[in-house]
């Protein structure tokens, strides 16, 4: 287990030295099953930091806001931002570096290995508790979680309530970091794409029924887009914001601004949105499954992105976020890429 005191000591040290502008980390929140992001500017505040399996959020999204904020300032503070990352989050930073959205000098990466565990899945816990409200949780030697509710106390092995992505994770330690805690053991899950099997084994009609049922639930709140560390386009294809329609906008001008996807949450438009999102994340999604976690209507969005991750691995031997120097999936090619589907 990673020692929290060491983490606090390092955080305090870099803040006192003025090495970083501030540190983005995890702190206790009012929801005991979920750690909240915290921004620490003063060295005395480092005691707020926590590290345990409730730290499932991906904090890399805040780096995007930081970049935009910096661009607006006249005399920006050019010191890096300290950020705590898990294995998956570090791959997100790698993709941002690969796409040159941020530079290495912008971040001071404080990596923490998940070791042989991972982070928990709130939904799995609620299922176990059968809708009782948890009052207190404790982690017992990194093996079990002890949850107390009003009526009872139950002990669940952590393995049973880990997020799906953690069970399929192949590198549970940060691949890029300035400081590092924990061990660097590669995991080799027997079936890294097990969650896809159930859908892949269905017939075409059944597959359609499944996705049709799931995606027609979508209310187009775009929470998945808002939380995704890879969704940083200034203008998203689904909202045409740069055409102001006024009284004297000509028909021709309106026609030239093609609207690809309508706003209405109908089946066809929802498919359009989610397919395009999946394509835009091909070879970029690092499987933090934040999109699935924030979805208010519980669409299994991770399964879409995971599928393209699998295709990229199998057809092109490409894995996102391992190396900031590698060319991206869709802006590179190899002569031996498969073409047996082409006539």
């Amino acid at each position: 287990m990673v020692n929290l005191e060491e983490i606090k000591k390092e955080a305090k040290k870099i803040l006192e030295e003025g090495k970083v502008k501030y540190i983005i980390g995890y702190a206790k929140s009012s929801n005991i099953l979920m750690a909240a992001p915290v921004f620490i500017k003063k060295p005395e505040d480092v005691n707020k930091l926590i590290w345990n399996p409730t730290c499932f959020q991906n904090l890399v999204k805040f780096l995007l806001d930081e970049k935009r904020k910096k661009a607006r300032e006249k005399e920006p503070d050019t010191r890096p931002v300290g950020i705590f990352v898990k294995g998956c989050d570090s791959r997100a930073i790698n993709v941002l570096l690969q796409e040159k959205f941020i530079t290495r000098e912008d971040v001071y990466i404080m990596g923490i290995s998940c070791e042989d565990l991972g982070v928990l899945d709130e939904k799995k816990i609620f299922k176990k508790l059968k809708d009782e409200k948890p009052e207190k949780i404790e982690f017992d030697q990194g093996k079990n979680i002890v949850i107390s509710t009003k009526e009872k106390t139950i002990k669940i092995p952590l393995k049973e309530i880990l997020a799906e992505r953690c069970l399929e994770c192949t590198s549970s330690f940060p691949v890029i970091s300035d400081v590092f805690w924990g061990d660097r053991n590669n995991r080799s899950p027997k079936e890294p794409f097990k969650s896809l099997e159930q859908i892949e084994s269905l017939s075409q009609e059944k597959k359609w029924d499944f996705w049709q049922q799931q995606l027609s639930k979508c209310i187009r709140c775009y929470a998945c887009r808002s939380v995704c560390p890879m969704c940083y386009c200034d203008e998203c294809v689904v909202d045409s914001i740069n055409l102001a329609v006024t009284a004297d906008t000509s028909a021709e001008e309106k026609a030239q601004k093609i609207k690809w996807i309508e706003k209405s949450p109908e089946s066809s438009e929802n498919f359009g949105y989610h397919l395009v999102r999946a394509m835009h994340l091909a070879g970029r999604c690092i499987d933090c499954s934040e999109c699935e976690r924030v979805c208010p209507v519980d669409i299994p969005l991770r399964l879409l992105n995971k599928k393209l991750e699998k295709v990229a691995k199998e057809l092109f031997d490409y894995k996102a976020g391992l190396d900031p120097e590698q060319p991206s999936l869709v802006s590179s090619f190899k002569d031996e890429d498969p073409e047996d589907f082409i006539r």
Binding site: V311, V330, F333
Partner: protein, 140 residues
């Protein structure tokens, strides 16, 4: 007897090879089914997945993307990028349950008018038993 279903195919043809190939089929007076709506694009590499999804949304029964043979691209490597991207699109639309026969990619050079007619004939034959594509179509 009810009229036979005639599928509508949207074909994205690259300007330098496939478009010229379809032209050759035309000027050589080769017979092929009139079910295809050709759209000339500058390169198969410029076909965004969005074009393909949108064609299905607007009611296409089949979509064909066609470009120069590998190594013949006017822009040197556009069709190599297309090859990767289209492979991803193909896997994705199969995964969500659309019939995989509805989406095709082909290499057609400017001299292959014959091959182009053959591709369209086969495509139409494959689409007929599937019936109209209603899964992704907009309800309007």
């Amino acid at each position: 007897m009810a009229e036979e279903f005639e599928p509508k195919i949207i074909a994205f043809l690259c300007k330098w090879c496939s478009s010229a190939g379809s032209d050759l089929a035309g000027v050589s007076r080769m017979n092929y089914p009139p079910n295809v709506v050709p759209i000339t694009v500058m390169c198969s590499g410029s076909v965004s997945p969005l074009y393909i999804f949108n064609a299905f949304q607007k009611g296409a029964d089949g979509v064909l993307v066609s470009g120069c043979h590998p190594g013949d691209c006017h822009y040197i490597k556009g069709n190599f990028y297309a090859r990767r991207r289209i492979a991803l699109v193909k896997e994705l639309i199969e995964y969500i349950g659309l019939e995989p026969q509805r989406f095709k990619m082909a290499w057609v050079s400017a001299a292959e008018g014959k091959k182009y007619t053959q591709i369209i004939q086969d495509f139409v034959q494959e689409l007929k038993p599937l019936g109209p594509q209603t899964k992704l179509r907009r309800e309007k």
